[in-house]
């Protein structure tokens, strides 16, 4: 008496294999995507490097009068903005990468170096031309959920071309140049910012940072944005 029980072993096995196939399909698509991300970021960095070289060459001709400051400022601003956006993308790719982690790290290193080069060249341009924007060197902490970067983005929206932000990962040990900058500015806590010549360690809220930037606008003698007058 009683039913004869069956165990659908074949179905379990087939279901397991098919599940593996779907997961493998997902992984295969993931590999293709990662490769596409890699080649896309390679192309972006190449473009930025070409722009950097062009800027380097042009700034050599400022004294001779064949290159004008307004154009250089505009090129610099466009490149920094673009570089910032693309870097966020590459950082995102690097975080999610499974198979090409090393390649993404190298690209990130390349990005940071390009950014530092842009920062140095911006200082060169400021020496030759009248400074028309405040440069912010921002060292962020990848391991902390801080909102400093977002506050800077917000102020960038407010002041537009009047501020240029150069972001560097304070914990990116692969690139010694970042450490060199940190040592030279004597920075020990993160997030930190270098605005003009001054170093600000720890998080600054939007109001404080706006005040700092407005002081810097006055110091460099550029036109003070309307927003600064509201802050007082």
């Amino acid at each position: 008496m009683g039913i004869e029980r069956k165990t659908s072993l074949k179905k379990y096995l087939l279901a397991f294999i098919l599940t593996l196939v779907v997961f493998s399909g997902g992984i295969a698509v993931g590999i293709l995507l990662e490769n596409a991300q890699l080649s896309s970021s390679q192309q972006i960095i190449l473009k930025e490097k070409v722009n950097l070289r062009s800027l380097q060459l042009q700034q050599n001709y400022i004294g001779s009068g064949t290159a004008d400051c307004t154009t250089l400022h505009s090129i610099l601003e466009n490149n920094i903005d673009e570089l910032g956006k693309k870097m966020t993308l590459v950082i995102d790719y690097e975080k999610k990468a499974i198979f090409n982690q090393e390649e993404f790290n190298l690209q990130l290193q390349d990005y940071f170096l390009t950014e530092i080069q842009f920062y140095l060249i911006s200082q060169e341009i400021d020496k030759k031309c009248k400074q028309d924007s405040v440069k912010v060197l921002y060292f962020y902490d990848e391991n902390k959920d801080d909102t400093q970067g977002d506050i800077l983005k917000y102020l960038k929206k407010k002041f537009d071309a009047k501020i240029l932000i150069f972001s560097l990962d304070s914990g990116f040990t692969q690139e010694p140049m970042i450490n060199t900058l940190l040592t030279s500015y004597n920075i020990t806590t993160y997030p930190s910012m270098v605005v003009g010549e001054k170093v600000f360690q720890g998080r600054q809220d939007a109001r404080e940072l706006m005040g700092i930037l407005c002081d810097e606008f006055i110091k460099i003698g550029t036109e003070v944005p309307q927003e600064c007058k509201i802050v007082g």
């Binding site: 008496m1 009683g2 039913i3 029980r5 069956k6 165990t7 659908s8 179905k11 379990y12 087939l14 279901a15 397991f16 098919l18 599940t19 779907v22 997961f23 399909g25 997902g26 992984i27 698509v29 993931g30 995507l33 596409a36 991300q37 896309s40 956006k85 993308l89 995102d92 790719y93 975080k95 999610k96 990468a97 499974i98 982690q101 959920d145 909102t147 977002d150 506050i151 917000y154 929206k157 407010k158 809220d205 939007a206 109001r207």
Partner: protein
């Protein structure tokens, strides 16, 4: 990429979910010998037990549907067990008996002792070779016995036959949502039936072999989900439970979220309690697929729901918290943010692996939905046709059920007992 414990748990959860979905699809498409529809050879005596507690609104209609059954009057009896009702249930049944003298209807009054006890009271008096329980809020189609009883002739091991359950006249969105849900549940019961894995014989008009239930000691009086308990007990003693789609029983579904919540807590907590009570069946090869698939998934479906929604909730909360902090740090200057808003979309940045698995699961779910409607010969446009009810079913109802599971987890942790709604 840093792989956290949570990532690993999520990966395993997705894998299990996909595995189960594919497994049930394989069951659906596996060849099955088609049994010819059998006709009732004779008319065995049949008893219907109607346990009633405060059912003054529906008991008359329930009794009417029973006397209207297409079955000889002399071959059927109705036993109404009034389980200590405090409303007019007793008077209404007495009046009904007086109005229908040609029908064998017995009214038994007892102190309120729960449905299990009421069922056993009815069972002790039952003279039928077969019997069914009909909750006083359910209504049967006239052909029910003609369709269900012949199924017992297919195999001597069949101890119970379950009817097709539908929601009666769904009116508001919530009832329409339950209407969709019942149909999809029927589809899964159909698949479970193929593997002899049915774990519940629903209260509304499941038919049992009287001798078997008496031999097993009747219904459990200590659980409030006695229909779940008896089904698992039947499986334990290697009896067969069969599902049919040809006999329809309509039941009144809860009208409010609160009532539905209480009902589902009772059902699902009952499932958990009974699974734990019969834990020796889990992964026991003596019970075949019932032990390997059905029993473990009763609890694991709740665990999966909790893991997925907790992960989603945690990520949503952390995003909201981060966003709030950001807005606070910029003094909630929405004007600047809106004025300078730019939409950045990057196809390459999509979580392709998760999307791939999610799309596969969604595809399977849609297929199940469409196939379920075909199986029960209903148009997808019936009742569920309002966009609101379909959207509620697809996107909100899952969260509601998850909430039920969360509450059950809380009950398990705090050792809270199951309760009647």
């Amino acid at each position: 990429m840093i792989v956290t414990v949570l990532d690993a748990v999520l990966f395993c959860t997705y894998f299990l979910l996909l595995f189960l979905s594919i497994f049930w699809l394989l069951v659906l498409f596996s060849s099955q010998e088609k049994n010819e529809k059998k006709k009732l050879r004779n008319f065995p005596f049949f008893t219907t037990i109607v346990p009633a507690y405060n059912e003054e609104k529906s008991v008359k209609e329930t009794l009417l549907s029973l006397i209207n059954l297409d079955y000889p009057n002399e071959k059927k009896e109705i036993i109404v067990v009034n389980d200590g009702s405090t409303d007019r249930t007793k008077e209404i049944v007495e009046q009904f008996i007086q109005d229908h003298p040609t029908n064998k209807i017995t009214l038994v009054n007892q102190k309120n002792q729960g449905k299990g006890k009421a069922m056993n009271t009815g069972l002790a008096l039952a003279r039928g070779e077969f019997f069914a329980c009909l909750d006083a809020d359910s209504f049967i189609a006239t052909n029910a016995l003609q369709e269900m009883l012949p199924l017992f002739q297919e195999d001597v091991n069949i101890a119970a036959v379950c009817p097709m359950l539908k929601v009666k006249n769904p009116k508001n969105v919530l009832q329409k949502v339950q209407w969709c849900e019942y149909i999809i549940n029927m589809f899964y019961k159909f698949l479970n039936s193929r593997l002899d894995c049915i774990h519940v014989t629903p209260g509304p008009f499941s038919i049992y072999k009287t001798a078997v239930i008496k031999e097993l000691g009747g219904f459990n009086e200590h659980t409030i989900t006695e229909d779940l308990e008896i089904a698992i007990r039947l499986q334990k003693y290697q009896y067969k439970i069969v599902q049919t789609f040809d006999a329809i029983v309509e039941t009144v579904a809860p009208l409010t979220w609160k009532k539905l919540f209480k009902q589902r807590v009772r059902w699902y907590k009952g499932s958990v309690d009974n699974t734990l009570a019969y834990k020796n069946l889990i992964f026991n090869k003596k019970y075949g697929d019932f032990g390997f698939i059905r029993m473990p998934t009763i609890i694991s479906s709740g665990i999966i729901a909790i893991i997925l929604s907790a992960t989603l909730f945690q990520s949503l909360i952390s995003k909201l918290y981060f966003q709030f902090n950001y807005l606070k740090s910029v003094n909630f200057d929405f004007i600047t943010l809106i004025r300078n808003y730019s939409f950045d979309f990057n196809l390459l940045n999509l979580p392709i692996f998760k999307l791939f698995v999610a799309c596969t699961l969604l595809g399977i779910s849609l297929f199940v939905m469409i196939y379920s409607y075909r199986l029960v010969k209903e148009k997808i446009t019936n009742y569920g046709r309002t966009w609101l009810s379909l959207v509620t079913y697809l996107f909100i109802y899952g969260f509601f059920i998850t909430l039920v599971w969360f509450y059950i987890a809380f009950m398990v942790v705090t050792k809270k007992k199951n309760f009647w709604s």
